[in-house]
Structure formats: C-alpha cells, structure tokens
C-alpha cells in the first residue's frame, strides 16, 4: 500500500526547473532512500512532500502527489495538517530554545492539547520511541540546547513523533553527526518503520544500503531508477545507477 504516489512531478524555482517528470511511489511502513549527487533534486523532492517550498516565493509545482486519494499539491491543501502528518527531520539538529520537555510538547500544544497528564505521557512515549528517554529523563526541564548533537537530533525525531505523523522525512539527518550517533539514528529508522513511513535523503551509500527497503536514484532533477534497495545495489537496470552506487561518480 502506498502512502504517497508521485505522478509526473515537475518543480520550478523561478524559471529554473529543478524536478523533471518524477514519478515514484512511497510505500507505507518502509524506508525509502533518495540518493544522488549534490544538486540532483533529492532534497527538493523531499520538500515537495510537506510543501516546505511554499515558505519561499517564486516556486511552482506541476503534476501530482497523491495521498489518500487527494493531490496534496492543490492550492486548497491544508498545509498545517499536511505538515503534521508528514514530519521532517533536518540536516542540522533544530532544537527550539526551550526545555527538553517543552520541545516535545510544542507540537502537542500547537494542537491545543492542554491536558498535562496526556502531554507528559506523550513526551515520555515519544522520547522512548526515539531511544532518548534514558539519557534525558532526569533533565527534562533543562534547556535542549545543552544536549549533544546526536541527542538533539533524536530529540527532534521525538518531537516529530509526538504528533503521530504518518511519515517522517529525513533530510540528510545524520550527515552532521558522529558515527556512533549516526548508527543510533539508523537503528531508529529501522525500528520506526513499524509505526511510520520513512523517506530519507542521504549522501551515504552504505546508509541507504543498510537502512532502506526502496531506493530512488536521482540525477539533474530526473529520477534515474527506483526499485527495491537490493536490486539497486546488486543488479540495477541502468548503467548510471551501477556507477553511482559503486562510487564512480557523484
């Protein structure tokens, strides 16, 4: 079953076409990796899913991204609920300048949840899901800015999970982290896909191979190949895919 279906998607920054006729499915409860050299459009595609581009002027979408039968690229799409159901974790950790607890509670309070017992439960559950609870349970009232980079990134994941998203979009979320923290987040992705759908942009070939179920290779705004990850890494149909996963370019 597909959570999202991308059909003939074009995306323009001003007059610059940065996505060219991209079509692929995002399967539920799996990890889809978007790979490709810098500037290939993988992050641009990811940011189409939660309409992040709408924050900046001069962008245009063509084609469709279907979710539950509706095109989320429609002007009428409610971006607030769309972004609640498709959470995003960025390249650099983005803890808010408030306590660990308030960071997680931020999204809940946005949804006007006022019941403090409910918020407490949800904060603990999300931190456990993000494998951070044991490390921060005694410092929930402390500033989140005091956590290490890896902890901050897991805090951001917990914050995203707290609002029960359907999917979490990872935008090179381990590229600023040390190997141990990266490992933790990769383990987390595999664990999380039981509950949510994951789309991960990554520069790291090993990461894509280790973590993902499906891989899409992009190049200059086009989708080169999309398939099950083992197919992409072992017997890809395109020569370019083979060369890229072997590290011959990019």
């Amino acid at each position: 079953m597909d959570l999202l279906t991308v059909n003939n998607l074009n995306f323009y920054y001003g007059s610059n076409k940065s996505l060219d006729d991209v079509s692929l499915p995002i399967r539920r409860n799996s990890v889809t990796a978007l790979i490709g050299p810098s500037g290939c459009g993988k992050t641009t595609l990811l940011r189409c899913f939660n309409r992040m581009h709408d924050l900046y002027p001069g962008n245009r979408y063509e084609g469709e991204i279907l979710m539950d039968g509706r095109n989320i690229l429609d002007r009428s799409e409610d971006l607030i609920s769309l972004r609640s159901s498709l959470g995003m974790v960025f390249q650099k950790p983005t803890p808010f300048p408030m306590s660990v607890f308030d960071n997680i509670a931020y999204g809940l309070r946005l949804r006007r949840i006022r019941n403090s017992a409910l918020i407490r439960d949800k904060v603990e559950k999300s931190l456990r899901q993000a494998a951070l609870w044991e490390e921060v349970k005694d410092r929930l009232k402390e500033s989140a800015l005091g956590l290490s980079g890896g902890q901050q990134q897991r805090l951001v994941i917990a914050r995203t999970l707290a609002v029960d998203p359907e999917a979490v979009l990872f935008d090179e979320s381990t590229s600023a982290l040390d190997p141990v923290s990266t490992q933790k987040i990769e383990d987390l992705m595999i664990e999380l896909k039981k509950a949510v759908t994951i789309v991960a942009v990554t520069h790291n070939m090993q990461q894509a191979a280790r973590v993902s179920d499906y891989t899409a290779l992009m190049y200059i705004g086009k989708l080169v190949e999309y398939d099950r990850t083992e197919v992409i890494f072992t017997k890809p149909k395109h020569k370019m895919t083979e060369e890229y996963v072997l590290g011959k370019f990019g």
């Binding site: 972004r83 609640s84 300048p97 914050r159």
Partner: protein
C-alpha cells in the same frame, strides 16, 4: 633604512597615535565621571530620593519628584515604544522580509535613530503641546517614545533575522502557523537580544533633555498627573545648574549623578547581556 625597519616604525607611529587618541577619549570620559561623582556625592543621600526641591535659597531638599517623573516618562515611553517597535521589527524580518517596502522602512529607521532629539521635541510640541494649551507629561512620553522606537525596531529586526531559518522551518514542519512560529520560536530565540535592545533604548530615553524641554517641561511639585508638566532629572539639571542658588546647583549635581548612574547601569547591563549571549 631597510623595508622591515620602515614597516616597524610606521607600525609604532600608527599604534602610538591610536593609543593617544584612545587615552584622550577615555580620559575625558573618566574626567566627566569623576567630576559628576565628586560634586554629586555631596548632595547624594536619602533626602535626594525622599524629598522634593526646597524653595530657592533654602538649603536641603531633594529630587523625589524629578526621579519619579523621569521613571514615569521613561516607562510610558517604553510602554508605547516597545510593543510597537518589536512588532514592527518582527514584520520587517518575517512577513515583510521580501518586500521592498521593508528595506525602505529599515533604512528610514536607521536615519530616525540619528534625528536630533530637539527636532523630535519641537515636532511633538507642535502636535501635542500647542493644541492642548500647555506642557504635559503625555507629550514628553510621546517624544521619548519616538526616540526609542527606531532603536527597538532595528534591534528587533536584526535579532530576529539572526535566528536561523532552519529553526523556523522545523516549527513549520510540525504544522505551526506563522504567528505561532514567531511567538513560540523566533521571539524566544531572540528574547535576550531584544531585551538588551530595550535596555539600551531605555538608557537613551532616560538621558534625553531637549525633547522634554518642549514637552513635559518641569515642575517642582510631586505629581503623577501626566496631563500636567512632569518633572525629570535631565530638565532639572538644565534649569538648576543655571540658577543662581547654591542649593539648586548642588541638587543639579545630585541629579547629574543619579541620571549618569542609571544610564550607566542600563548600558552596562545591556552590554554584559550581549557579551553573555555571544559567549554561549
């Protein structure tokens, strides 16, 4: 002379001139502080804060009315200027960040910071004193508000635009509408800087004389009535220092010390906060 010796010499000369100029500047500043403290201390005591000015020629008396009036005027100015300035600065860095108008407003605010304050005073005189038939505290507060407004607009704008966009995106990605992003994340991240700006603006307002001469003027009586003239330390200094009465001149020195100490305190607090913020 070899090249290196020449360069060393010109370096020493440049360094010497710089140090000399710095010493002159600092020396004058400390001379002023020394003089204010030396003269001010003699009339500095509890009576300065607890009593109103004595009639001319009589010894004693204090500056209770001027101190309270100064606080009243400054507080009223901040009450009007801070919310307006913070919201305007936020507009410039957020909703209006890609508008040409915002850049114009920014530039105009920069110019407004350096408008001679006596011009502001004359302007407020024309619209809030003349038509209402007399000097009044509201006009004084309005003049000070006009002076602090551009400072707060620009501080807020630069502090909020220093908040990284990724932080806003993270809040948007959680489904936050823009106003919640601003209140919950942007302002919170910029709060220290904005507060520092407000302190520095308050220091600026508290040290102004010219705009008050035209507006709130002065009064020897203790009053919280803003529709009447309201006394202030700075105008008191101006009037008392030029008076022929020794006791008034002494009070003027006391007022000078009080206002200098207050402005210095606000400034130092502001700077220390900036320092702490940058170290983090």
């Amino acid at each position: 002379m070899s090249g290196i010796a020449k360069r060393k010499l010109s370096n020493s000369v440049a360094m010497g001139i710089s140090v000399l100029c710095a010493a002159i500047g600092l020396g004058l500043l400390f001379l002023i502080l020394y003089d204010v403290v030396r003269h001010g201390l003699s009339s500095f005591g509890w009576t300065l804060f607890a009593k109103d000015p004595a009639p001319p020629g009589m010894a004693g008396g204090g500056l209770r009315s001027a101190i309270l009036g100064q606080i009243l005027l400054t507080a009223a100015a901040l009450l009007a200027g801070v919310p307006t300035g913070v919201l305007a600065g936020t507009f410039l860095s957020e909703y209006g960040r890609s508008l040409k108008l915002s850049k114009i407003i920014s530039a105009v605010s920069d110019m407004a910071v350096s408008i001679p304050s006596i011009v502001t005073g004359a302007f407020v005189y024309a619209i809030l004193v003349k038509p209402f038939g007399g000097f009044n505290g509201w006009a004084g507060a309005a003049a000070l508000a006009i002076i602090v407004l551009p400072v707060i607009v620009r501080t807020t704008e630069s502090m909020t635009s220093m908040v990284p966009w990724s932080l806003r995106e993270a809040a948007f990605a959680l489904g936050a509408p823009y106003h919640r992003v601003i209140v919950g994340v942007v302002w919170r991240a910029a709060a220290g800087g904005i507060f520092t700006g407000v302190l520095l603006a308050a220091a600026r307002a508290a040290g102004e004389t010219a705009p008050l001469l035209f507006t709130s003027f002065n009064s020897g009586h203790f009053s919280l009535n803003m529709s009447r003239p309201v006394p202030s330390l700075t105008v008191t200094i101006y009037q008392y220092a030029a008076s022929p009465y020794e006791s008034w001149v002494a009070l003027a020195w006391g007022a000078a010390l009080a206002v200098t100490a207050a402005v210095l305190l606000l400034n130092v607090t502001g700077r220390v906060m900036i320092g702490l913020k940058q170290r983090r």
